[in-house]
Amino acid sequence: MLDIVENSLAAGARRVEIRVEENIAADRMVIEIVDDGCGMDEERIQRALDPFFTTKTVRRVGLGLPLLSEACRMSSGEMQIQSCPGKGTRLRATFQHSHIDRKPLGNIRDTLITLMTGHPLVELLYEHRKEDKIFSLDTREIKADLDDIPLDAPQVVSALRTLIQSGLEDLGAY
């Protein structure tokens, strides 16, 4: 998730929306990441799935999208990318929820904290639905409430950490 959002930020995104839906009844988990970055044409989308294609200059491989694509495939899901130059990108990764090879989501709390503190000027929405419960966090709303206090102030980070952890625990997602 961190890798994919870093791609969005590298594409100049100012707002990134991450939505996770766990639908036990339908045996499906969906992760959707939408950004308002510079977008990609069809050729670039295809190249983005090649592990040997990267826009980074420090190494020759870019594994975020190829690894996510493979993770979907291994749990009977798929990954779709919709993008258009100048109109941002929407990535949708689906997984069979009960699949034995489905990788765990990982440490969502620390992922979100890393993103928020690393890029305090970027708006980040995280929305996680599990059955009929939902946890949602939008840094645009948080920043409005904080006034001049920066998002990466230590006391804000500590409060956000607690908020995210308790929210995900209530969902049964942590």
């Binding site: 592990p51 040997f52 491989v61 594994l63 190829p66």
Partner: protein
């Protein structure tokens, strides 16, 4: 020990990266989780895995691994073979299970970590 020597002793079939079979190696790593290999394998390791997707070639390149042994009779995907050849990453096939491959390598003096 060179990759070629190990292949001959274990009956591994080299299928790509043949120009680099004279490479010496002394350590190995076994894992099927690519994130684990990216975090913990070291340059020069021989990697034992059942993963056949082309991502393994990217990981091997990124981590400068000596080569990859695909176990259990698994066949690399077409794109994996092509990338291995393009990047000259030594790729070997065997019907042996991972436990056997690693055990035999260890008996031949290839270590995990000091």
């Amino acid at each position: 020990m060179t990759l070629l020597e190990a292949a001959e002793k274990l009956g591994l079939k080299p299928v790509a990266g043949l120009s680099r079979l004279s490479r010496e190696f002394v350590q190995g790593y076994v894992s099927d989780l690519l994130s684990d290999v990216m975090a913990n394998a070291k340059p020069g390791d021989i990697w034992v895995t059942l993963q056949i997707h082309q991502n393994i070639i990217a990981v091997a390149t990124l981590k400068e691994l000596a080569g990859i042994i695909l176990i259990g009779g698994r066949q690399p995907e077409k794109q994996t073979l092509a990338k291995a050849e393009e990047e000259q990453v030594p790729l070997f096939l065997t019907d042996l299970p991972a436990f056997e491959v690693v055990g035999r390598l260890y008996q031949m003096g290839i270590i995990g970590r000091k």
